[in-house]
């Protein structure tokens, strides 16, 4: 997979081939970087892998495990924004899988991370997701 952006576009079936190549290039680059600096890049690599894997709906258990790895790794490294991002992506994954409770749990974690990061924009965005899940 390419970067997170490319995967999102891939999920929306836009720029398919271009996005696919970009995604693969991004994973390769993150593997290379994580081999040199586990601290800075392992969480990013795990998140890209989890997102890429989530495109294939058959690898459900593995996807969840890798999302959790990414969250734990971001927490270890103190990257609160990327911890929030990983929680947000995991929340959307569970939402797509129609697992409302799990989605709610991860979105709540993401909101906490974004609050700590200090991003009102992201907190509001996640709050909207939480509100829409509670209404359903």
């Amino acid at each position: 997979m390419a970067g997170l952006n490319a995967i999102d576009l891939l999920r929306k079936k836009r720029y398919s081939l271009k996005s696919k190549n970009a995604a693969h290039a991004a994973i390769a680059a993150m593997k290379f970087a994580a081999a040199k600096s586990d601290w800075n890049f392992t969480n990013k690599l795990r998140l890209l892998e989890a997102e890429h894997l989530s495109l294939n709906r058959r690898s459900h258990r593995l996807s969840i495990k890798i999302y959790d790895d990414s969250i734990a790794s971001a927490q270890r490294s103190g990257f609160i924004h990327e911890q929030g991002l990983a929680c947000e992506k995991a929340g959307f994954y569970f939402k797509r899988e129609r697992k409302k409770e799990k989605a709610f749990e991860y979105f709540t974690k993401a909101r906490g991370c974004y609050e700590e990061w200090g991003s009102i924009v992201k907190v509001d965005f996640i709050q909207k997701e939480l509100d829409s899940l509670s209404k359903k």
């Binding site: 997979m1 390419a2 997170l4 995604a23 040199k36 800075n40 990327e82 911890q83 991003s119 924009v121």
Partner: protein, 249 residues
């Protein structure tokens, strides 16, 4: 006195351009040279050494947080020893590292405002414009610029012009803002523009690596700005010719 500086500068150069592919050896030697710098208390050289080491190469093997803290020290040292240009250069890298390390945005905004004040005081227009670009990103991430933005805006001219020094920063930060605000297609547009820059082939700088994570691609490239900085540090300060480098090993 200048030996430590030369050693660090040399290995910064080698690592940024990844000439010899012995990454672990070179990074270890660069780290040891930094320890020497600490041991012999070459305080006056800190503002010259830190932007090269912590700003350009240390992100590959040191936590972003450590880089940000060290660059803040570089900024302080720059002002203490009367080298405000390099001190402010450290400040720009400190902001960049802080953004990547997920520092609290409100604290970061206060820090940026302080750097902005110092750059105005020292009349450093180039640094001020870079800081304003970063400030806008942080302000947008906080509250979409509603309460945290200021009137002053960066003057970066036409980003389509090749010689524009701010081109990479403007496009990269536009992509970052769009990514976090959820405008994926716009983010893609800016990152593609970023990829089309006239960049020097190499195994990646920090910006390139982050671009890959968020948006993909940008295979092994380094920014023109980083190359210029490296040339500046290596050429002018070590006395070794930039062009002769490959023959020195």
């Amino acid at each position: 006195m200048y030996s430590v500086f030369r050693v660090v500068s040399y290995f910064c150069f080698v690592l940024v351009f990844d000439f010899f592919l012995c990454f672990f050896d070179h990074s270890r030697i660069a780290q040891k040279a930094m320890l020497l710098a600490e041991r012999f208390d070459v305080g006056a050289q800190i503002p010259k050494i830190f932007p090269g080491f912590y700003g350009l190469i240390a992100w590959r093997f040191e936590p972003f947080h450590l880089g940000a803290d060290s660059l803040r020290r570089g900024f302080e040292a720059g002002l203490t020893y009367g080298n405000s240009d390099m001190g402010l250069h450290c400040a720009v890298h400190a902001i960049k590292n802080s953004i990547h390390s997920g520092a609290n945005l409100r604290s970061l905004l206060k820090e940026i405002d302080y750097y902005l004040h110092v750059s105005e005081k020292y009349n450093s227009v180039l640094t001020k414009n870079f800081i304003l670009i970063f400030r806008e990103t942080v302000s947008l991430l906080i509250d979409n610029g509603h309460a945290s933005s200021i009137e002053a805006k960066a003057c970066f001219g036409d980003v389509n012009k090749k010689e524009n020094k701010f081109r990479e920063a403007v496009l990269h930060h536009s992509a970052i803002r769009c990514f976090w605000l959820g405008h994926h297609e716009r983010s893609q547009h800016f990152s593609e523009k970023c990829m089309n820059l006239d960049l020097v082939e190499q195994k990646g700088n920090c910006t390139a690596c982050i671009v890959k994570f968020y948006y993909g691609k940008m295979e092994g490239r380094c920014s023109c700005n980083d190359r210029v900085i490296l040339e500046f540090i290596f050429h002018d300060r070590t006395g070794i010719s930039f062009q002769r480098l490959p023959f020195l090993i």
